[in-house]
Structure formats: structure tokens, C-alpha cells
């Protein structure tokens, strides 16, 4: 399989998904990940995306996609409709995160969650030294234009899973293109989790 020029987080998620499984990608954007999952892994995929222009790009890739928001789009699926529900870089933009995560684990047998780590050392340093809201590679927005509604760290998410009795099956921590094995909450820009209910 040719994994060249594939985003590091997409490559990581490809490694978490079993071949020929069914996936629902919440906030699928222009459908890059979904397309890879279908092409490289033989998956059957469905996306949900709020942005109209992204929908046209998904359709041009031959993907099945629903135009709508994640908060209301998930509840209409039956239990265990998919092997995996994916929330990659979309969790932080959802209004009611708790309800969506719960529903993702109802609709999917497993869920994959990927998000920017707010506690990365560069963010910490920016807050500490400049006293301003951090703007970094994985959190590239100014406070007044960010689509992100929630700012969470890797430790926050692990803590949430413990509190809600969600099972973390696998985790991958990324700093840029490479995997982070040590002190992820400090050194990783992105956290990716495979969870089950």
C-alpha cells in the first residue's frame, strides 16, 4: 500500500481500522480519510459534514455523505450500525461532546477519536510566557476566529474515559509526523484513541 503523502493522523487511523469494515466519519471534511479507508482498506464508508463546499468535494470522490451537523446527525442511526465511528479533528467543534461521544459508541461498535492536544508544551509556553491564547500548528486559529468550542488535553480525554467507564483499546500520540512515546500530554500535538463502550 502506498502511504506516501498521507497525513500522519490519517496514516495512524488507517492502522487502527480493520480491513473491509464499515465506518461513519463525523465531520469528514472533503473526505480524504474516508476515501483512503475505502481505497486502501476496502471499507464501506459514510460521512457527515456541515460545510457545503466540502460536500461537493466528497461527492466528486464518489463518497456517501450527509450534509448536516454532527450533534443532530448521529441520533438517527440504529445501534451498532457501523464497526467504527470516527471523530477526527471534529470533537473540539461539537457543541455537546459528552452526548455525541456516548452516541458514537451506541452507533458504532468502536469509536476513533483524534484531537489537538491543548497541553502541548508550545501551547503551555505561549500561555506562560506571553499570557495569550496559544496559536500553534495543531491549534492554528486566533481566539476570535477559531471554530473550536472546546480545548482539551490528552490527560483530559483519558480522565473522561476513566470517569465514563469508556474502554481505551489503543492510543497513538503524534508530534508532527512522528509518534511520541514519552510524556504525550507534554510532547504530543495530537492524540488519537480507539475506544469502545
Amino acid at each position: 500500500m502506498a502511504f506516501d503523502n498521507i497525513r500522519a493522523d490519517h496514516k495512524a487511523i488507517l492502522g487502527l481500522i480493520d480491513p473491509r469494515s464499515t465506518v461513519l466519519d463525523l465531520g469528514c471534511g472533503a473526505g480524504e480519510l474516508l476515501y483512503l479507508l475505502i481505497k486502501e482498506k476496502g471499507c464501506r464508508g459514510q460521512g457527515i459534514e456541515i460545510d457545503g463546499q466540502a460536500i461537493y468535494k466528497c461527492v466528486a470522490k464518489g463518497l456517501n455523505v450527509f450534509h448536516g451537523d454532527i450533534d443532530s446527525g448521529l441520533s438517527e442511526f440504529k445501534e451498532k450500525s457501523f464497526d467504527y465511528v470516527i471523530l477526527n479533528q471534529s470533537l473540539q467543534q461539537i457543541r455537546n461532546v459528552g452526548a455525541v461521544l456516548q452516541d458514537a459508541l451506541r452507533v458504532g461498535k468502536k469509536a476513533v477519536v483524534g484531537f489537538p492536544n491543548f497541553a502541548h508544551y508550545r501551547s503551555r509556553a505561549q500561555i506562560f510566557f506571553t499570557g495569550r491564547t496559544p496559536v500553534t500548528g495543531s491549534l492554528p486559529y486566533q481566539w476570535y476566529e477559531t471554530p473550536n468550542l472546546h480545548f482539551l488535553s490528552i490527560s483530559d480525554f483519558i480522565n473522561y474515559c476513566r470517569f465514563k467507564k469508556v474502554n481505551i483499546e489503543k492510543n497513538i500520540y503524534l508530534g508532527g509526523e512522528s509518534k511520541i512515546l514519552l510524556l504525550p500530554n507534554l510532547l504530543a500535538q495530537t492524540g488519537i484513541f480507539l475506544i469502545s463502550g
Binding site: 466528497c58 466528486a60 455523505v65 438517527e76
Partner: protein
């Protein structure tokens, strides 16, 4: 306004349901003989896997594309059908027929009743959307087509597409319902009832027996004026007419002072030249009575058939609002049907499905390509 790339086309006619084999209608009555007007564009391939059925909206007809000899205006969806267009006639074989109950060449209330030798008028049975689709199935059998690549249509055309999905799921690879609904809301029924009342309150209507006499033109024109208001949006009307006044305006004479008034009058008067008042009554009733799912989940209708669905809605459409399209999507989600839904940004209101060509063409051409490609690759056409 010669925009057509298809060139000159001709309406053809298919007759069936002769007296011994009359068509059994949904309401239990029988009808025959039945004539269906239709047109085709492009070529059916050897495997017969590239046929796409186009469904017209309420006031449409079989003339979807191309030019009739001597005509200046092409068919009603010409911008979508032709070489290189969304419904690409270089790749697909396109069929469009006039609905049962219509007045565009198919059997309807203005047709001659073979039993009496006179027009049916109100003796015409109350036909349904499913009856219309049943006639189309007969036409396709006659054309030798067992399985359609797709069925597509807007508004009432979308209802027919949904009816194909639930009635003949094994005969379609995909359906494209556009700006439509699983069933009419009370608001939609209300607008249709006001239109019907406009026709029936015209003294020339005479309980439908106006053929060969003065036609109920005022009532039909008024019905059409009401319709046109519902097809546009607040914004599209403001953009098109503003509060501009016509030059011939005479204050306090109740003339058509504003341009929007003149437009509606023109539309109404133009409509009576081409449409039958009784067809208006019958077809609007068929739409009101339509209920695609009848309180049964979609998967029960599909009987295990794998059909792909592309649902398209338009943001400013308040006659068939996006939430009705989302109901179709919801049924697909629950049934585990592979589907795509797009809410196209538009200010045109319900008319958008005839006007937002660029976006619609993008969605449809890619969707059809995918369905057709999978079809060809898997060879899943039962040979």
C-alpha cells in the same frame, strides 16, 4: 433561446392496457386503454445498463430536452440533459414520460373515454403517484429495460422517484429525489386545495364538463398564480421585481401596477394555453394522497435490495423545505441505505431545482458516474 445540444427530438407514444388487460389502479378501479407520451435521448447500451428515467414535476411533460421541430424553447430540463451534461447522453440513455392523468399526450381526464366516445372529465378515476409509476414500468418493459441505472426528478418528480424506490426496489440501482417529500404536509395540501378551489369556483368549470365549451381559464390561471408564489422565495421575488411598477399602471384601477402582479398574470394566462384544468385537479390530488412509506420502515419496502440514494434540497425552498428531505435521509439511515444528502445554497426557492444547474449537475454527474462504474465493475446486472 436555442441552447439545446441534443437537437430535434420527437415525442413518441406507447399504448397498453387494451380492454381485456386494463390497468388495475391503486384505488381498485380499472383503466384502459392507456397511452403514455415519452421521449428518449442518447443510446441504450448493449447490456442495457445505462438507462436513466427522468420524472417531471407537476406541470411538466415528456419533453425534457432537445427541441421540437420549429420550436424556439428547448425541453424543461434541457440544461441538465445532453452531451457532457449531468445526464450525459454520450453515456446514458435518458427516458422521460408524461404522467398518467396529465395532459401532455398521456391518458388523462381530457382524453376520450372509449366507452362513451367523449372526454372522461370527472369519470376519470382518481389516479395515484404509484399508478403513474406503474405505467412507467410498463413503458420500460416495452423498451426492453429490466433495471434502471437511476430515477431522478424534482418536486412531484421526486415523489415518483421515491415511489420507484418503494414499489420496484429491484428495478433501480439508484434514485435521486430532489426538492421533494415522503408525503405532503398540511401546509402543502392547503395550498393545493386553494388552487383546486380556484378552478372549481370558475363558473365555466361546470363540474369538469367544459370540453368543447368555454374553458375555466380564469380559475386555472388563478390556481397557477398561487402556485408561482409558492415556487419562489421572498428573496428571489425581491431580486426579480422589487417594488418596480409597470409603465401602464393606473392608480386606483386595480390594474397590475407592480411588476410582480404583471408577472403572475402573465404566468397564469400563459399556463391556460397548455394545461387542462381537470388534470390540475387530478394530479394535485395524487400528490396530496402520496405517502411513500405508509408508516412502514424503508427496509421493509426494499426487501434486501441494494439501492443508492442521492437526496438534494435547497435552502430557500419553503414549499418543500429541507427538513422534509432530511426525513428521506432519516429513513435511509435507519434502513442502512447508502445515501448522500446535500442542501444546496440557493435563493430561488422551490424553483431552484430547475435553476441551480451548476451545483445540481456536479452532484448528479458524480453520483451517476459512481453508480454506473460500480455497476460495470461488479457486473451485477443479472446476465
Amino acid at each position: 433561446m436555442n441552447m439545446s445540444d441534443i437537437g430535434i427530438v420527437q415525442t413518441k407514444y406507447f399504448e397498453f392496457a387494451a380492454p381485456a388487460e386494463e390497468l388495475a389502479l391503486e384505488n381498485g378501479e380499472r383503466l384502459g386503454p392507456v397511452r403514455i407520451a415519452y421521449e428518449t435521448y442518447g443510446r441504450l447500451n448493449a447490456q442495457k445498463t445505462n438507462a436513466v428515467l427522468i420524472e417531471h414535476a407537476f406541470s411538466g411533460d415528456a419533453h425534457a430536452a432537445g427541441l421540437h421541430k420549429g420550436a424556439l424553447k428547448p425541453g424543461w430540463w434541457d440544461s441538465m440533459i445532453g452531451p457532457g451534461r449531468a445526464f450525459d447522453t454520450d453515456k446514458y440513455f435518458i427516458i422521460c414520460s408524461n404522467v398518467l392523468g396529465g395532459c401532455g399526450g398521456s391518458t388523462g381526464p381530457s382524453s376520450i373515454n372509449s366507452k362513451t366516445g367523449k372526454p372522461y372529465a370527472l369519470d376519470f378515476p382518481l389516479v395515484s403517484i404509484r399508478d403513474m409509476v406503474r405505467c412507467q414500468k410498463k413503458l420500460l418493459e416495452y423498451l426492453g429495460i429490466g433495471k434502471l441505472l437511476s430515477v431522478a426528478g424534482g418536486s412531484m418528480g421526486g415523489m415518483q422517484a421515491l415511489s420507484w424506490l418503494t414499489t420496484y426496489p429491484g428495478s433501480v440501482r439508484s434514485v435521486i429525489p430532489i426538492a421533494t417529500s415522503l408525503k405532503h404536509s398540511p401546509q402543502q395540501i392547503a395550498f393545493q386545495e386553494v388552487s383546486r378551489q380556484a378552478i372549481m369556483s370558475d363558473t365555466n368549470w361546470k363540474s369538469g364538463n367544459y370540453y368543447g365549451r368555454t374553458l375555466p381559464d380564469r380559475g386555472l390561471a388563478l390556481a397557477r398564480m398561487i402556485g408561482h408564489i409558492t415556487y419562489m422565495s421572498d428573496i428571489s421575488m425581491a431580486e426579480k421585481f422589487g417594488r418596480l411598477k409597470v409603465e401602464s399602471a393606473e392608480p386606483f384601477k386595480f390594474t397590475a401596477d407592480f411588476e410582480v402582479e404583471g408577472y403572475l398574470r402573465y404566468r397564469g394566462d400563459d399556463f391556460v394555453k397548455r394545461f387542462d384544468a381537470n388534470s390540475y385537479l387530478y394530479i394535485t390530488k395524487a400528490m396530496d394522497n402520496f405517502d411513500a412509506l405508509e408508516n412502514r420502515p424503508l427496509q421493509e419496502w426494499l426487501k434486501g435490495e441494494n439501492v443508492k440514494v442521492l437526496v438534494i434540497a435547497f435552502k430557500s425552498d419553503w414549499l418543500y423545505p429541507a427538513h422534509q428531505s432530511k426525513e428521506i435521509v432519516r429513513a435511509c439511515k435507519l434502513a442502512g441505505v447508502e445515501a448522500t444528502y446535500c442542501e444546496v445554497d440557493s435563493t430561488y426557492g422551490h424553483d431552484a431545482f430547475l435553476l441551480e444547474i451548476e451545483e445540481e449537475a456536479h452532484l448528479i454527474s458524480h453520483f451517476l458516474k459512481k453508480v454506473f462504474y460500480e455497476y460495470e465493475v461488479t457486473g451485477n446486472y443479472g446476465i
